[in-house]
Amino acid sequence: MRSRLLSLAAFVASAVIAGSAVAQEKQVHVYNWSDYIDESILADFTKETGIKVVYDVFDSNDILETKLLAGGSGYDVVVPTGPFLARQIQAGVFQKLDKSKLPNLSNMWPQVTERLAKYDPGNQYAVNYMWGTTGIGYNVDKVKKALGDTPIDSWDVLFKPENAKKLKSCGINILDASDETFAIAMNYVGKNPDSKETKDLEAGGKVYSAIRPYAKTFNSSAYIDDLANGDVCITIGWSGDVLQAKNRAAEAKNGVNIEFVIPKEGTYMWFDNLAIPADAKNVDEAHAFINYLMKPEVIAKASNYVQYANGNLASQKFIDKEIMENPSVYPSEEVTKKLFTISPYGPKEQRVLNRVWTQLKTGS
């Protein structure tokens, strides 16, 4: 009995010692999207700086925002998307970046930084990590079988009920991200995609209610696998996700051939950005981490892995040719002009939006 007690005491003591040792070690707590980095970058960062990375992932902006708004999240670097970033800045969630600690800012791409300023006026709080578009991902063979030779280059493919009806049997997924899907639909019916007017939102909603009977699922993460497995043949999806599905299908050699297209009517352009919460404990380490990610060869490695475009101009010469030359990742000038961004929704507008969206999803 006594020996047991002794060993217990020894265990507790060693745990306490180990705990204090950890507390002294330099570390940075990073909260990023799932499947969104080449993990070797984290190991390289630790090797170079001696700062340990505690890495954690999420799969929706809503979850990130709820943790940030509750306060005391314990994270030092987080990666919110544009409109969420804007609202969180307004709520006082973030601290201003100390640009003297971020010399690699000179590598950034002005075109992206300028657009990001819509969410972060003066670029004071955030640095772009990756950006992309929300377009159509589809299974080439199944869609061809359903629609014949209709060219897949327009939202008509999905939003015209007669097309959606033909696609029903092979599976339609709608991205469950109401702010983006509504902006796209409002743009499609000729309204301002950034409108927050109830009547415009309702006009956007009508696009979806017309095709609701033919939609199989509404989700924003499981659709990657569904598309790769052939359970879904067409989806509104994020560029990198669809390319991941394409790769997974190619790896599985299951005969599923997937493509992504930016429709000619234009679409939503989003930015995922690095920011530091106001209550972060390891502020210096957070700056070091962000600065490291702005090194051209490092962020190029990340882009090569996740297949998203980044906001770092200097990195472009390190990015794989097939990604740089893929117009669905780095679109042409002409297409880029048609891409739009949206400002954040206020609480009342958000309620109208999500109410219409829930109604659509549940069919009630």
Binding site: S60, D62, I63, E65, T66, L68, L69, A70, G71, R87, Q90, A91, G92, V93, S178, A215, K216, T217, F218, N229, G230, D231, G346, P347, Q350, R351, N354, R355, T358, Q359, K361, T362, G363, S364
Partner: protein, 305 residues
Amino acid sequence: MAVAQNSDGQGKGGLGRVFVVALPYLWLVLFFVAPFFIIFKISLSDTAIALPPYTPVFEGFGAIQDFVSQLDIENYIFLTDDPLYVKAYLSSLRIAAISTMLLLLIGYPIALAMARASASIRPTLVMMVILPFWTSFLIRVYAWIGILKPDGLLTLLLQAVGLMGPEDQVQIFRTDTAVFIGIVYSYLPFMVLPLYAALEKMDNTLLEAANDLGCPPLKAFWRITFPLSLPGVIAGSMICFIPITGEFVIPDLLGGADTLMIGKTLWTEFFGNRDWPLASAVAVILLILLVIPIMIFQNQQKKVA
């Protein structure tokens, strides 16, 4: 003698007894009443783009009057205005009621068979009912995705035995049927164990007597076994019905976009709309709805005791 013992107990163990009685109440206050009042308080405030995302925030007792004057019940009025919430509550209660019936229909024969099995294998049977708990609940629900999805195990099985053509696929995943399957599977032990406990302690000589007096087995079941197992039936039903009503994980993973349950609605309010006050109001009403079955349960327990 009895009197002496009694006064003795009060003299020496008085404080100890108070402590023992107070402990569960303390637990209840700390982990139920206090959180409930925090939720209730938030449900009376308004959303704001701030940290935390609602106003007014309770800051010290000096401002208490000011604080109270800013509270209002508009969130509750909103809940009754919009048919979505009423529909979601009703749909949750419907799904919980149907699931509980199914659980009873499936769980009762299992419990009865266990109780009638020879005493030597009963512990093994109970063990088998409990065994699934050794695997994470979430993983077990995910396993059902693998079984039910269109190209999943069920389709493969039906195709292999020839009940389905090679082109056909089971269309269960992401429907209400899948939700029922997931719920019945997950909650079955919670139904079987109370039923088994009630049936196991039943006096079998009663059935022998019925048999001797010429009562057919089925009638004996309805007149003796079932009434005697009623406490188990009610306990099992309540233990299942109450959490199923607020279930979120199973409908989210297995249900379709049109599966409407209050747990999912609450999630949207909290995460999608960032409307903590309204989400809190939804939670308070859910609790009030569930207090009724809980009280029935308590009443029944008292009768048994």
